[in-house]
């Protein structure tokens, strides 16, 4: 029954995507054309495949996950197509690849369930860390790192036969592996970490050896910040570690310690790194250096303001004026063309997704599944919040993608795998 409801919602979301493309074409003076059909087919195959995988291997999974993901993907893809049709045709392949990864995930877990992931937790840690470090590979190797917009978080694989490059952001997948590791690690250690106290005066702190993971998290995040100059990814990783420690132990101490480390790390970063300074000053007053550091934020504000309540209409705004409109700033493009109505709809969809995710965590029967569901939900929620806060000027702009919506195959793949894992966990609790 719930699968049929999922199919209905999914069909609506897919039609929304096709309608979006049709509207873009309409404003360009075209009528229904191959692009609309291609979108319908791609979305149909991608989300249809994940839907069928749910039917076969996780029939009791929550029916809300996939339609929300498809809804966000439809709006995001419409804007990506509207900004750059060439990027959009690449993104169609990304949808197929991401769906394949999600189907593969469900297939691998078909018999033993998510618990099997615990067995390989150190493998996941190793893979996660390796993926994070991958962009540091020298430029001369056939598989090498690449610096884009000052951040080294890309990996390029030279394909000599077709003389093309395959680029991906390993950090996007690393966060999924690291979440699995953390969930598994904490499921074993949380009792010890929560109960063993040592008092220094009035302050009760955990055993020093239990502080280890916090420090590791802080150092790893800082390493990412230093070596890859990626503020967003480091903030995301650090928030994930701290949030999961809190979820596992219920101890505010970890949050407080994390906040102190953020302040210290942030201060050091602010005084040491130019690119952090530029982003902070662009956040405080984007118009002070309008043509320089503040340009992207200012263009985002112009887009949002021009969108007003109901937006310019799809295809009728100028989101192409915003730097990185198809990736980090896709939300500003939505705000311009769909207005405040569209902005609120997108934010509401993330709230719904996060609510469903935490609901799965709350209902999960064992610690590992709880922590995993919570962790995966935290990844999506915090990543969305970080970039939305950047666009909406509540926080300096840090380069992370908006899950499901931004252009980018790695991000899409990670997001779809998260949906598959959350679906599988919810299935295991209901069956």
């Amino acid at each position: 029954m719930s699968r049929n409801a999922e199919l209905g919602f999914l069909a609506a979301a897919i039609l929304l995507g096709a309608l979006g493309i049709a509207m873009v074409e309409f404003t360009r003076g075209n009528w229904l054309n191959a692009q609309v059909a291609l979108t319908l087919v791609t979305f149909g195959i991608a989300f249809g495949a994940v839907h069928m995988a749910f039917r076969v291997w996780a029939p009791s999974a929550s029916p809300l996950l996939l339609p929300i993901a498809a809804f966000l993907a439809a709006i995001g893809f419409t804007e990506v197509y509207r900004i750059d049709p060439e990027l959009a045709s690449l993104q169609r392949w990304s949808f197929l690849a991401a769906a394949a990864a999600a189907v593969l995930t469900l297939w691998l877990l078909r018999n033993s369930g998510v618990s099997v992931l615990r067995t390989y937790r150190y493998l996941f840690l190793a893979v996660g860390v390796a993926l994070l470090m991958l962009p540091l590979l020298p430029d001369s190797w056939f598989l090498h790192g690449a610096t884009v917009n000052g951040s080294r978080l890309w990996v390029r694989l030279e394909l000599p036969l077709v003389a093309r490059q395959l680029s991906f952001q390993p950090g996007e997948l690393a966060k999924v592996f690291l979440t699995i590791f953390l969930a598994s690690f904490l499921a074993e250690r949380s009792d010890a970490m929560a109960t063993v106290d040592r008092a220094i005066g009035p302050i009760r702190i955990p055993e020093p050896r239990h502080l280890g993971p916090v420090l590791v998290a802080a150092l790893a995040s800082f390493a990412v910040l230093i070596y890859q100059r990626d503020l967003g990814a480091s903030l995301l990783l650090f928030s994930l570690f701290i949030a999961m420690l809190y979820v596992a132990t219920g101890r505010v101490f970890y949050v407080a310690a994390g906040a102190v480390l953020v302040v210290i790390g942030g201060s050091i970063a602010l005084t040491t790194f130019d690119h952090v300074q530029r982003r902070v000053s662009a956040w405080l007053d984007p118009f002070a250096d309008f043509t320089g550091a503040g340009y992207q934020t200012a263009q985002g504000l112009f887009a949002l303001g021009s969108g007003s309540l109901t937006g310019s209409g799809i295809g009728l705004g100028r989101p192409d004026l915003i730097p990185a409109a198809a990736t980090d700033f896709v939300f500003a493009a939505v705000g311009e063309e769909l207005g405040l109505a569209g902005s609120i709809a997108v934010i509401a969809a993330y709230v719904l997704l996060v609510t469903v995710g935490f609901g799965i965590a709350l209902r999960a029967r064992d610690r590992f599944r709880k922590y995993l569901a919570a962790g995966l939900t935290i990844v999506v929620g915090i990543q969305a919040a970080i970039i939305l806060a950047g666009v909406l000027r509540l926080f300096p702009v840090t380069g992370v993608t908006l899950p499901f919506m931004s252009y980018g195959g790695s991000s899409l793949m990670a997001s779809m795998v998260i949906v598959a894992l959350l679906g599988r966990i919810s299935h295991e609790e209901r069956s």
Partner: protein
């Protein structure tokens, strides 16, 4: 075990709530200020990039059209094929200087509905035409070109109307400029040069030029005398060489420094034909401030003239402010001192006399048409106000015809056609006089015949300089205009 998960969930949801509030603030509250920020490049695209409707003259000569932009398939570029000829009326729409003229006042018709999202989409869904509408003007292209040619490089203005409908047949202000130079983002230097030009090419003198009307105002003074019954054309007045103004040592004399007629007495008719200041100052003082102001307001002074473009009201002071000041009454009665009028207003004065005393609402947009050419709406001629009775209008027609037959307006004559008119030579401190002519022709018409009323003003004497008079400079131009229109 679940409590920390709940707290984290609530925290993240609270963050999204704050994000939603921020979006609301940025888009709904602060939105307009970001949208209208001059650094917002969208304004540039919006102002000039949208498709706008075509503007054509009465005969279909294209004065403004949108062509697909060569740079961006979705954008359009506005061009004005007739250049200067229609610049003040059609106006322009520019990246840097906004919109003027009809491009501004009729933007709702000219700009596509497609960008006004909800209403545009609804309209399109209901089978409406989403493309912008065009405007057909009342302007006669050959007459407009003639008017532009007549003014040449002189500063001034010409307004020609159909007196029975109020339709504008020609409306030219000089100097003009090429609007095409201002359209694009590279129009800054050209626009700045225009703004700084002392000849004020950006000003539409036909509706925003305030000139003392001089003796052309005597039509109104005569109308006031006739309407109040104080005088008829045969009423006589003393004919001094210089008229002493009561309570002062100053005097008023005629333009040629001579007596008006025989130095003894002169009729209103002779004084009108010869445009005698000494006589009209007396008539004005007999009519009084109230009569002058009432009559002038009857023609539209001190009112906003309803028009397709905003018109600067023509001014005569309130009657109470100069009712007890005979020298002021005398000076105002001959169109000097505090009386100022726009060329459009003076054209309406001539048209009202031609039209049995009724002032029609002037209009320059005849039809609004859809992209397929069908008419969406047409302007219906309407009476704005009654200036004078038909009887007074008839007497004034006769006086004005005599002024052209044998008086100051002789050079307005057109062979074979009965022309009526009144000259004006308005003294201005610090420059040569403004040369005026207002008039119309033919005096009598059948319903099917053409009739035209004109107002011509040449600023500071034009090429004639200090020697300029309304009769020598403006009247010949009126003659050519009327002949051109009636021949066409």
């Amino acid at each position: 075990m679940n409590a920390p998960i709940r707290r984290v969930a609530l925290t993240i949801i609270a963050v999204f709530a704050i994000l939603a509030m921020s979006a609301t603030y940025l888009q709904a509250v602060a939105g307009p200020s970001y949208r209208d920020d001059p650094r917002n490049a969208r304004l540039i695209a919006w102002r000039t990039g949208r498709e706008r409707g075509t503007i054509v003259t009465a005969e279909g000569v294209v004065t403004a059209r949108s062509d697909p932009s060569p740079d961006d398939a979705k954008l359009f570029r506005r061009t004005y094929p007739e250049g200067e000829t229609y610049v003040h009326t059609v106006g322009f729409t520019s990246v840097l200087f906004g919109s003027r003229g009809l491009e501004r006042t009729r933007a709702d018709d000219l700009v596509s509905d497609r960008d006004s999202n909800i209403s545009g989409v609804l309209n399109a869904l209901m089978g409406g035409d989403p493309r912008p509408r065009g405007l057909r003007l009342t302007i006669d292209h050959s007459l407009q070109a003639k008017a532009e040619e007549l003014l040449g490089d002189q500063r001034g203005a010409i307004v020609a109307l159909d007196p029975r409908t109020g339709a504008v047949l020609a409306i030219v202000s000089t100097p003009g400029f090429d609007p095409n130079a201002l359209v694009g983002p590279d129009g800054g230097p050209a626009g700045t040069a225009l703004e700084e030009d002392p000849a004020e090419p950006l000003r539409n003198r036909t509706i925003n030029g305030s000139y003392p009307p001089g003796s052309a105002f005597k039509v109104i003074t005569a109308a006031a005398a006739l309407e109040s019954g104080i005088a008829s054309p045969s009423t006589t007045f003393p004919d001094p060489l210089e008229l002493e103004l009561p309570g002062t040592t100053s005097t008023i004399s005629n333009a040629d420094g001579e007596v008006c007629d025989d130095g003894d007495s002169v009729t209103l008719e002779i004084a009108f034909i010869r445009s005698c200041n000494t006589t009209f100052a007396q008539i004005g003082m007999e009519v009084g401030a109230l009569g002058l102001v009432d009559t002038a307001e009857g023609f539209g002074f001190n009112e906003s003239i309803p028009f397709d473009l905003p018109v600067l009201p023509s001014r005569i002071p309130e009657a109470t402010s100069f009712a007890n000041d005979p020298p002021a009454i005398a000076a105002n009665a001959i169109g000097q001192r505090d009386v100022v009028a726009t060329p459009l207003q003076m054209a309406l004065v001539a048209a009202a006399i031609a039209n049995d005393g009724e002032v029609m609402v002037p209009f320059v947009v005849a039809d609004v048409f859809r992209s397929n050419g069908s008419i969406e709406s047409s302007t219906t001629p309407a009476v704005w106000r009654r200036a004078v009775s038909p009887a007074t209008a008839s007497v004034l027609r006769d006086l004005m015809e005599r002024a052209v037959l044998s008086g100051t307006g002789r050079k307005a004559a057109v062979p074979g056609i009965r022309i009526a008119g009144k000259t004006g030579t308005a003294e201005v401190a610090g420059s040569a006089p403004h040369a005026w002519f207002i008039g119309f022709g033919p005096v009598e018409v059948e319903a099917a015949d053409r009739q035209i009323a004109v107002a011509v003003v040449v600023e500071a004497g034009g090429n004639a300089g200090e020697l300029a008079t309304g009769g020598s400079v403006a009247a010949p131009m009126a003659s050519q205009l009327i002949a051109t229109y009636l021949a066409g």
